[in-house]
Structures are given as C-alpha cells and as structure tokens.
Symmetry: C2
Subunit: 400 residues, 2 copies
C-alpha cells in the first residue's frame, strides 16, 4: 500500500468535477470561445483534481484532452480523466494541431508566460486569442459544499494557531520568533505548506506578525499591512522587532487545508491597550459585527464596503483606514479558495451581488503612523439568509 | 528610528550595483538589444537593491528609468537610483514612449505574463522583441564576493538545521512533525522565509523530508526527489509517514539569507542502515568527494557529471541514479543564488566551463523503488584552484 492511500483528505467526486467542467463549457459557449488551453497549476487542479505537470484542453463541445508530462503515475491516481502522456509542449501542440481545432482560443493571459504564448500561437497559428482567466475566476468564486467543508477544516487550523498564540506571545520575544513557532503549530495541525496567490511576482507568507512601527511600513503589495520582513530581499512578513507591552500585536495567519486557504487576523495586547488604539479597535469590531448581521445572498458587496466606511467616517478615521498615505488600498475584503486573492472583492469600485457559496475575508484595519496598527480579519461563507463564519475563534482583542 | 535601520543585513555597494548594470549593458550591446524592460521582482532586486512593485528600464547607452509603483518610500531607502513614481503600467508605457526609445527590446519572456507582453508591445509599438532572461541568468551566475558572503551566511542556517535534526529526529514521529520543527529552527536562525524558484507554476518547500516510500513517489518537478506532500493539492514536501528504524531519512533543506539561497541534503538513520542502501550511499559519498577534489575554475561541468556517472555505472546503479522510471532527471546539480534554479546546471547535455564565483549544489541521489531513497546534496563555490564548501557540516550519514 502506498502512503498516498493513507491520507484522509476528501477528494472531489466525479460529479463535482463534471459540474465544474460543464460550468466552464457553458461560459465558453456564452463568450464564443471555441477552445481553451489551461496551463496554470491551480486552474488545472480545480478542473481535474490533480496538480502535476500538465496542460488541460477543452473545446466548447466538451472535448477534453488532458496532457500530462510528469508524474503520469500520480496524475492517473488523482484524476477521473484519461491521460495523454507527453514529453513537452511541442508534443501537446502537435496533437491539438492534428485534431484540427480552429477558432477563438481562451488562454490564462494573466499568468501564462509570454514564451509559451508566443510558441503556442505560432505553432497552432492562432490569431483570435482571449483571456479566459476572468471566466475561470468567476466559476471558482462559487464554492460547492465539498469545497466549503475543506474551507471549514482550513478554518480549524486558524483556530488552533490563534489558541496557541495566546499562550506563546510574551513580552520581549521578536516577531520572527513568534512567527516561527506559530508556523510550526499550523503545520502540525495539517497546514499543507502552501499559500497560493494568483499573479506575477506574488509572494505570500503563512503568517505576518506586526506591532507598532513594523506594521506601519508600507509594503509593495495590494494589502493594508504586509509586515516589514527581515531584509530588502524579502520585504514582507515578521521582522526582528521585539514585542512590547500595551501596543497591539496583529497576527495575520493563512491556513491551507487540502489546497483551500483561509486568512484571518486577530489583535493581541500584553498589559493594557494603549488608549490611542481603542477607537479604531472598536470601529473594526463594529464593522465585523455589522457585516455579520447584514451580509447574505442578494446583498451588494459594495454596500458592505459603504456601510463600513460610514462607521469609519463617523469616527473620523478615514485617513488611517485600510492603509495610510501611499499604503492605502481600495478594498475591505477579498475572496478565498485555492488562492488567497479570489473573487469577490469587497470594494466601493464594483457591484458584486453576493451569492451562496462565495467565501471572503473582511479585514478592517487601521494604520496609525508613528503609533502602530490595529484591526481584525474574519472569513465568511455566504448563505441564503446569513453569513456563516469559517473559523470559530473569537475575534475580540486578546488581553494577555 | 525605523526598525528597518536596526537590521544588520549587508547591502550591495553602489560600485557593486554599477558593475552589475554595466555587465548587462555590455551584453545588450553584444546582442544588439537597444533597450530592456525588466518586470520580474528578483531580476529587479539584483539590479537595483530593492524589491518593491517596480519596473526597470535600461537602454544600451546606459539610460536608466526606474519606475516604482509601491512602496516609493521603501524603494528610495533601498536603491541608489532615482525613482520615477507611477501609478500603473500605463504611466510607464507613456513615459517610455515619450522618450522615443526605438529598436530591439529585451524582455523576460520566460516569466513575463502574456497580458503585460501584449499590452506593452501594442502600446510601444514593438515588433522586434527578444528574450533577455538568458543574458540575465548568465550575469547572475557569477557571484561577487559580496554575494558569496551572503551565501556563506545562508549556509550557516543550513548547518544549524542539520545540527538540530540530529537531536530532534525520533522513531515514530511523522515527516511533517519533524519538518515543522526544523522549519522553525531555520527561521529562528534568520531564514528570510522565501525560497524562490524561477519560472511558471514553480513552488518550493523550505524543507523536504522523505523516508522509504514517500521518497520514491515521482513528483511533477524537475527534481529527483520532491516529497509526497499531504494531499494532491500540494503534491510536494513532507508527508504523514512515520519515521522507521534502519531506513534512511533524507532531509533536504533550503535556507535563504538576505535573499540568497542554499540547498543541501543529509542522510540520517535511526538504528543501523539497512544493508541494501550501503552501496548507493557509498557511491553518493564518493561522488561528492571526487567532485570536491576535481572541481575548480576551468573544469567543464559536463566532466563532473560524467566522472560521477562512471562511478554509478561501475556500481551497477544507473537505473536508480537521479530518479527511477519516469522520475529520472538529467542533471546532477544546479546553480544557486537569489533563485534555487540558477545556472550552471551540472548535466551531460551542456558544456559549461566553471568560472570563479559560480555556486552550485551537487546532489547524487538514488531512488530505489519499493525500498526508499538515499543521497547527499552539498553546495560549492567555484574558486581558481578548488571548490569551496558553502556550509560546514559533515555530509556523512548520521547514525542515531
């Protein structure tokens, strides 16, 4: 018996995979895309159940060619599709050409490297190319009950880490020390060791611990707090700053279970919360409460942003909300799934009507220059009549 | 004082940065590339000293435009170049257009997403595009003394992890348990928390622990042993397999200090090494010894592969060397630097004459189906008259 057989991770059923494929096919027909060729590991995993070195072809008639370079043995074990073994992309292009597929092709233009794009369009003589990543991201936005079970288990890892943090956080230890121990706690609780973020140049820490000045350093990413990191080469995550009394410590932790990512933040303080942080903390807490009560299927995500922003305005904190100065970002939340930057985005810029099965993080955070950071992040599943929490742990400030 | 000022990571001098830029410019002139536009975070870091959200433009005359979207404050602190603040790629394209740069452009076609490529070539009306990533990888292949100091410090983290492994490795614990603790040890010793690998769909664990069956699972990547991971969604790294007596445990650990990566593997055994593994272990050990004695500037890397392969042949182990069946890879070593898959590659396929300042890992490994894995990985710096070890720890089998 292989060790592979001993793992009790639940796999998607054939019905589930078929339904994902059918959604893609229907959207391709709508958009008049004759065929799509997928190269990105996460997209291929979503549609096939395996994440080996492979390329996935689908026509709008439902013809599927699943090319696997390596490992064929492992892919066979994990997918319901027949596999076409290939030794490189040339072999793939040759077969697609022979089959005579013609017309408009959909590619993941947001991530597909130019080299592959140029070779592919030349070899297959493609002139009508469109980006299929938008469609895929929209399909992946609505999670099945199978996926929601994985996300809830991912939430259990988050709970375990925050529980441990209460015992482990001590005055004088560095952010890095605490981060390294909590990462280890997460791994022992089943964290898969990945934290995927779609896009070029994207990097993601499993944990970001910030306090005071380290939280207010503006980062390169589209995130309100990125952490300072240890050096210019890795400018994100925990720093060597020592934990002080009375200043809030933010622990932003991302779990990954069976590929599914959760992402929550809790505020902690040793001693007594400096009064300066009380108002923004209360507003962050109120935003989470308000969104919990208001959100459900049919609600516009923009309205969730706006009602939050009203609370921020009333407290005169708009300048510090979701970043300060060049660090300000224009969203309050983001979707979660196989990647940490899925749809929907909770932003004033777009109307997105919530649908059952969406999963998103809401992260009201305040960056107070010269002082520090305070905020909360909680993940929600959209249900017909409510929002359901992903994790179970309290999001109140932990006073230690 | 910002916490940024407290970190004692050594930064490249202006002279060092200037010399990197000059190498690029000279190679551009040789290849008749009129200008290059770099988008990849690691390439930009190498040429500027900062890894913010930015784009780097250089003409063959040495005109430089360093566009930074975010964080301008942090980039200013970290680079010697003047910064042009921009809010998106459109702003960048507009400025380049206004300056009237024309001719052949070099882009990182191996990693640049098609979407950016298409937009860029359209907006700037570019028709003569070449891949500049080969040139950049060749320049980055030869490390400066500054870089070698960072790599040696990265090697110290490797030593610390292997030292701890001797104390921590116990019968009955899972690979995951041990991996999670050793990751934590590495972080506390200054591991930056990144493990960069150039290319699309590339993922990399800081640590891969394998024993017996978990090591023989063929992985998707171009590596002899990838680890089984916990589930199909993250098919690499440590598994839930429990550590047994008498079967070798391989710990493959990658450190990152100041952005510079090292990558070594040590074999361990609890009890007595099953005699089945003795011959391949001895051959792996002999390969490392032989390469240590033979390698130096002027030697062809292909010859290092071939002399190793002769030892493997003499022992009748070619079938199991560097993978088995579909898992076989065609190299014995790979370059190291800011990424884990740099040049040179130690392979029979290419002639690469070793030059002082190259850094590479040599990893003779044997995959014995139904039995397990054994091997060693050691990093070397090429010097005029010898190879210099990167780490200090013994690479002999640790019998616990």
């Amino acid at each position: 018996m292989s060790v592979l057989d001993k793992l009790d991770f639940e796999r998607p059923t054939k019905n589930e995979i078929d339904s994902r494929i059918e959604k893609l096919r229907v959207r391709m027909v709508e958009k008049d895309i004759d065929f799509a060729i997928l190269f990105q590991n996460t997209d291929i995993f979503y549609f096939t159940g395996t994440m080996q070195n492979s390329v996935f072809f689908i026509s709008k008639n439902g013809d599927i060619l699943f090319f696997v370079e390596k490992s064929i043995e492992r892919a066979k074990r994990e997918t319901y599709f027949d596999i076409i073994p290939v030794s490189d992309n040339n072999g793939i292009f040759k077969i697609i050409k022979q089959k005579g597929f013609k017309g408009r092709v959909g590619l993941e233009l947001d991530v597909l490297p130019s080299q592959i794009f140029l070779k592919l369009t030349k070899e297959l003589n493609l002139s009508d190319v469109v980006d299929v990543s938008g469609i895929i991201r929209e399909i992946r936005m609505i999670k099945s009950e199978y996926e929601l079970r994985q996300i809830k288990k991912s939430g259990e890892i988050v709970d375990a880490v925050f529980r441990s943090a209460k015992d482990l956080l001590k005055e004088g230890m560095t952010e890095l020390e605490l981060a390294s121990i909590l990462e280890s706690v997460g791994r022992k609780n089943g964290h898969n060791g990945a934290m995927r973020m779609r896009g070029f140049n994207q990097e993601m820490d499993n944990i970001t611990i910030t306090q005071g000045s380290s939280g207010t350093v503006v980062g390169y990413a589209d995130a309100p707090i990125l952490g300072q990191g240890l050096c210019p080469a890795v400018p994100h995550g925990a720093s060597l700053k020592s934990i002080e009394r009375n200043i809030p410590v933010l622990i932003d932790y991302g779990a990954c279970f069976n590929g599914y990512i959760t992402d929550e933040t809790r505020p902690f303080v040793i001693g007594k919360l400096d009064s300066f942080f009380e108002l923004p903390y209360n507003v962050a807490f109120e935003i989470i409460e308000k969104i919990s009560e208001t959100g459900k299927e049919g609600v516009n995500a923009k309205d969730l942003y706006n009602l939050s922003f009203e609370l921020v305005k009333k407290a005169n904190l708009t300048e510090y909300f979701m970043g300060y100065g060049e660090g300000k970002v224009n969203f309050l939340g983001h979707g979660l799934g196989l990647e940490i930057n899925e749809l929907p985005v909770i932003t004033p810029k777009h109307d997105i009507i919530l649908q059952e099965g969406m999963v998103f993080a809401v992260e009201p955070k305040f960056i107070l220059p010269g002082k520090g950071v305070i905020g909360i992040e909680v993940d929600f599943i959209v249900r017909k009549d409510c929002l359901e929490r992903v994790s179970n742990s309290s999001y109140e400030l932990s006073v230690l």
